[in-house]
């Protein structure tokens, strides 16, 4: 287990490192792409301008008569103080008539534009240069070459390139630092969750994640995790409590049983004595089993899918049926069971008849057990528009206000009633059955009565 945990941690760190690198790379790629785009568009823009100027030359010279062309050419070359212009007029055979280059540059197609090596005649110490040039045929058969030296513009582009490259360095640095920071921040947050989960695994269920006052999305996630932990802590607490209760509740009858068996094995002399001891033992075992069975039953009702096995149940008939079942029991115990079913119309709901019968039988059983001898236990069904209410009331003192909610907890026994036989699970079972059906069960505010409220879906 520790091995695996350590492995998991390494993977976690590695993943974070990968994230950091990925973010840095992303930022770097973005910088490079921007620089490249800028460079390309600057270059293309410059080319476009040059090409337009060269084409303009062609149109201008074409409009001139052959005699005027020589003058215009010389005028233009005189105006070219930077000496980056190349102009030449050639005859139809391609032989240069006049201009500042010796021959027409090869590599530029007729009426095309291209970068070519030219042969300047007027530049001191320079017989070859690279230029952007255009070749076009003028009216009358002559050919014009118009070119612009690329040295200057190439230099400008190189400056741009260098600037961009230098700018990339801090960009990349920022990218790496940013990636490292983001990875570290995420790593810290994840570490916090990991440390917490380790603590919880060790059983420290009260630990929580820190949440800032104005949480970001990760903070909100932490708040959700905290809320989930609150719920789990409550549930685990309940389960622990129930587990302790079960142990305690079973220990009592088992201890008594053990003591009895021990004593009776000492005392018994006859076969009859043993038979009596056996019967008493069986009764005690049955009591312990009843606790287990009731717990399992509550458990299965709580985990049962709603509506499984539901049929239409006539509430009036059910109340009368269960009432008839228990009337003799009440009578034998010196109490009277009165049944009051309201209204003539049958009220039927979707329910499990066995479970509802069991809930009622638990309530009546309680009322007979806790109501005063000679008193009346009332089982009634009241029907209103939106709900029907089944009430079991006795003439006892009822449950103290402070205990009204706790009576539904497992094993709750009110003070002074510890010695009344029972599992302490009856009302928990009633509540589980009511919950399964979507009914509500509540104790009356005064007197001793329990009601099951059944919503009616009359359509």
């Amino acid at each position: 287990m520790p091995l695996r945990e350590r492995g998991a941690r390494v993977i976690g760190r590695g993943t974070l490192l990968h994230w950091g690198i990925a973010i840095a790379l992303l930022l770097a790629v973005q910088s490079v792409a921007m620089a490249a785009l800028f460079w390309v568009s600057a270059r293309e823009g410059h080319r476009g301008e040059l090409d337009e100027a060269l084409s303009h030359d062609c149109t201008a010279f074409a409009a001139l008569s052959p005699s005027a062309r020589r003058m215009e050419l010389h005028r233009q070359l005189e105006l070219d103080v930077h000496r980056d212009r190349f102009l030449a007029v050639a005859n139809a055979g391609g032989h240069v008539l006049y201009g500042n280059i010796a021959v027409l540059p090869p590599g530029v197609a007729m009426n095309g534009i291209g970068t070519a090596t030219v042969t300047p005649t007027t530049l001191p110490g320079k017989t070859s240069d690279v230029a952007r040039g255009r070749l076009c045929r003028l009216p009358g058969g002559q050919v014009l070459f118009s070119g612009i030296d690329l040295d200057d513009s190439e230099q400008a582009l190189r400056i741009v390139e260098r600037t961009l490259l230098f700018a990339l360095l801090p960009g990349l640095l920022i990218a790496v630092l940013g990636g490292w920071y983001v990875a570290r921040r995420a790593g810290r947050q994840l570490d916090a969750v990991r440390v917490l989960s380790e603590q919880i695994t060790r059983g420290e269920l009260n630990r929580r994640l820190p949440v800032a006052e104005h949480p970001d999305s990760f903070g909100q996630l932490c708040a959700h995790i905290n809320a989930m932990l609150d719920r789990i802590e409550t549930l685990v607490g309940e389960v622990r409590g129930i587990g302790d209760d079960i142990a305690h509740q079973l220990r009592t009858p088992l201890t008594r049983l053990r003591a009895r068996v021990e004593r009776e094995m000492e005392d018994a002399v006859s076969r009859d004595d043993f038979a009596r001891a056996g019967a008493a033992t069986l009764a005690d075992v049955d009591q312990a089993l009843a606790i287990v069975a009731a717990l399992l039953r509550i458990h299965e009702i709580e985990h049962r899918a709603k509506c499984a096995g539901f049929t239409r149940v006539d509430l009036g008939a059910l109340v009368r049926d269960v009432g008839e079942l228990y009337a003799p029991v009440a009578e034998d115990s010196g109490r009277t069971l009165a049944i009051a079913v309201d209204g003539a119309a049958a009220v039927s709901v979707s329910a499990d008849r066995d479970l509802l019968g069991e809930a009622l039988s638990n309530l009546i059983d309680n009322a007979i057990k806790f109501g005063p001898i000679g008193g009346i236990v009332t089982l009634s069904l009241a029907v209103e528009d939106s709900a029907a209410t089944i009430t079991v009331a006795d003439e006892g003192a009822g449950v103290a206000a402070a205990d009204r909610e706790r009576v539904f907890q497992r094993f709750f026994r009110a003070r002074g009633l510890q010695n009344v036989p029972g599992t302490g699970l009856g009302l928990s079972l009633v509540r589980a059955i009511a919950d399964l059906h979507g009914f509500t069960v509540a104790l009356a505010d005064r007197g001793s009565a329990v009601s099951i409220r059944v919503p009616l879906d009359r359509g």
């Binding site: 019967a279 089993l289 009843a290 069975a293 009731a294 399992l296 039953r297 299965e300 009702i301 049962r304 499984a308 096995g309 049926d321 008839e324 079942l325 228990y326 003799p328 029991v329 034998d332 499990d352 066995d354 479970l355 019968g357 069991e358 039988s361 059983d365 599992t423």
Partner: protein, 225 residues
């Protein structure tokens, strides 16, 4: 003598059940796994099969379903430790004939077995005669030696249920299930209270008792010859 096959993986439980069955006069054999059980079902001529639901290699209900699909109609009784509410319904739907949740009293198991082996002919006759008892279901009356017992409707149903199963143990759980139609353990003595009222009416006047309490778990109607 009826032959019973028990398919149960837990040795302790199986031992107790086998002893109980033998004492009640049955010839009982046991299989510890679903596969062995199915083989024994196919081979032997068993009169009844008791199947535990949780077997190491299969689910008891599947076993019964397989057996039914092969046309084997031997009555089957399902045992379950799960005690789930729907288990009874599912057990019966899978082809089981009765269902008993663990833990159970041995007398309960024996009563169910007897009920399965000798299913009463739920005849359509509306008049039953058993020794001194005459029941007229249409008139809703029961007489003992010609004297009206003045039974309430539910008491009449109880007596009819007993009279139709003479000499056999019926348990409280069976009565609650079959006479009242409830499938839950009332945990109190409701059935006993009703039965004691019935017995007071039927056996009250110093006549020899016809309904007996059997070991605190059930009742038996003994019709004198």
């Amino acid at each position: 003598m009826a032959r019973i096959l028990l398919i149960e993986d837990d040795d302790g439980t199986a031992q107790e059940i086998l002893l109980g069955l033998a004492r009640a006069g049955y010839v009982a054999t046991r299989a510890a796994t679903g596969a062995d059980g199915l083989a024994a079902i196919r081979n032997g001529d068993n009169d009844l099969v008791i199947v535990d639901r949780q077997l190491p290699d299969s689910e008891g209900l599947d076993l019964i379903a397989t057996m039914r699909s092969e046309g084997i109609r031997t009555p089957a009784l399902v045992l379950s430790a799960m005690g789930s509410l729907d288990d009874r319904v599912r057990g019966l739907r899978a082809g089981g004939d009765d269902y008993l949740p663990k833990p159970f009293a041995l007398i309960e198991l024996l009563a169910r077995i007897e009920a399965l082996l000798r299913r009463p002919v739920e005849g359509r006759e509306t008049q039953l005669f058993a020794g001194p008892i005459d029941i007229d279901l249409l008139a809703g009356t029961a007489l003992r030696n010609g004297r009206d017992l003045e039974l309430l409707p539910r008491e009449l149903l109880l007596l009819e249920y007993l009279v139709r199963r003479p000499g056999r143990v019926v348990t409280r759980m069976m009565l609650l299930q079959d006479v009242w139609g409830y499938n839950f353990d009332p945990r109190s003595n409701v059935v006993d209270v009703h039965m004691s009222r019935l017995r007071r009416k039927v056996d009250g006047d110093g006549d020899p008792p016809l309904i007996r309490n059997v070991r605190g778990e059930g009742y038996r109607f003994d019709a004198p010859a």
